[in-house]
Structure formats: C-alpha cells, structure tokens
Amino acid sequence: MFDLLIVAAMLGCAFQAVRGTRLLIAALWLAGASALTAIMMFRLGAPEVAVIELSVGAGLVTVLFVFAINIAGEEPPVTLRSLVPAPLAWIVALCAVGLGAAMALPNLRVESSLVQADKFATVVWEHRSLDILLQVVLIVGGVLAVLGLLAGGRADARKESQ
C-alpha cells in the first residue's frame, strides 16, 4: 500500500511538472518527483544510488533549474499550440507505455534466486572501472562546455556594447 502511494504521488508530481505553464513551479514539481523516485530506489534495495539521486536529482538539479530560470527570466505562460498536436502526442505516449507494459509485465514474476555477493564499492571500483573513467570524462567535458557557452555569450555581449 505504501509503494502504491509513493508511485501515485511520483507520477502526479511528474505529470504536474510537464503540464504546468510556469517554469519555476514545474521545477519544484520535478524536485518532488525526484525525491519520491529516491524513496522508490531505497525500497528497491539501492540505498547508495537513492542518496545520490536525492542530493543530485532533487537538490543540485533543482537549484540549477531555479538559477537558470532566474537568469533567463520567466516567459509568459505558453498558450500557443504545441508542435505536435496534443491528441497525437497522447496516442504516441499511450502506445509507448502499452508496448512497454506488454513486454515488461510478463517477466516480472520471475525473480532470480541468485544474490550478488560483492559490495557496491567493489563493483564500482573493480568491476566497472571503465564507468568511472567515463564519468570523469563526462564531468570534464561538461564543465568545459558550460565554460565555453558562458564565455561565448560574454564575448558577444562585449562586442555589442562596443
């Protein structure tokens, strides 16, 4: 019953984040969905990732969203028609969910009796060391990309003022 409540609240928050017209409110709904996702991760037996999702997904990313919305400025609520007609978008999304349900739900009853004996740190540092390398490359690349984007914007603004 508790899981049902968590899932219902999570999907409600996610839907409100997508449906809302105000960006700041959408960012807050997204933070709520992230926090509830973290609880679901904990329930699935993944406490390490749940903590990271709570701090990064619900914390850092929300701060970044609020920061970006404050700098960019909130646009007036969008009342224009979407690029894809709304009924078509609903049909595509429902078809995707139905297809996923048809493929995934029959396999849920089979739960493996094998239990991985390794600890999380062992798997991360010894078995999946290439993932760590990839993460470092991603972080360095991301920092360089953001610096390049912001520096480019500053140079353009300086040129315009001259």
Binding site: D3, I6, V7, M10, L11, A14, F15, V18, A26, L30, S34, T37, M40, M41, L44, G45, E48, V49, V56, G57, L64, F65, F67, A68, I69, I71, A72, E75, V78, L80, S82, L83, V84, L88, A89, W90, V97, G100, A101, L108, V110, E111, S112, S113, L114, V115, Q116, D118, F120, V123, V124, R128, D131, I139, G141, G142, A145, V146, L149, A157
Partner: protein, 104 residues
C-alpha cells in the same frame, strides 16, 4: 490477478515516468520544459535499471549503472540549461517554434 508487489509497483512507476516524459517532450514548446521532460524520462530509466538489477539478482551492478546515468544526466541538464540561458540572451525567447525560424 497480480498482487501489488514491489516489482509490479516499480514497473508501473517506470512505465508511467517514461510515458509522462515522452508526452512532455512531445507537447512542450519551451526549451527549459524540454529539459524537465528529459529529466522525467531519465528517472524512469534509472528505476528500470534498478528493477532489472533486482530481478536478475545483481542489485549492485544495477546501482553502478544507475550512478553513471545520474552523472551523465546531470551533465546533460547543466549544458542544456546553460544553452537555454544563452539562447534567451541572444534571441529573447525560449519558444522552440520561434527559434527554428529566427535568424540573427
């Protein structure tokens, strides 16, 4: 009738998040809302990885893959938000329809 087990609930959450994220990507015209939709999609993928890890008895491998996805998703969000800020400064709008027809 299937009982309301944890894997079933997690699967419902995965499918719901993927559907809502896809819907958000399809209907929005705002650049920042595109990032919101993408974040919701990625949350569905994260839960799917953890669920698959649990069902196959490899919870720690699922956690490790989820950690990599969280890092990649955060970097993508940061770059996309920086891009949105620059687009707003340069063109004065975040509307995707207007951006696709605008010329500087």
């Amino acid at each position: 009738m299937m009982s309301l087990s944890l894997p079933l609930m997690a699967a419902v959450a995965v499918l719901g998040l993927l559907g809502i994220g896809l819907l958000g990507l399809l209907v929005t015209r705002n650049l920042i809302k595109v990032v919101v939709g993408m974040q919701i999609l990625v949350k569905g993928a994260l839960l799917a990885l953890l669920l698959a890890g649990r069902l196959s008895g490899q919870v720690q491998t699922g956690q490790t893959l989820a950690l990599t996805v969280i890092v990649a998703d955060t970097i993508v969000s940061v770059v996309a938000l920086a891009l949105a800020v620059q687009v707003r400064r340069q063109f004065g709008t975040l509307d995707l329809q207007a951006l696709s027809t605008l010329r500087r």
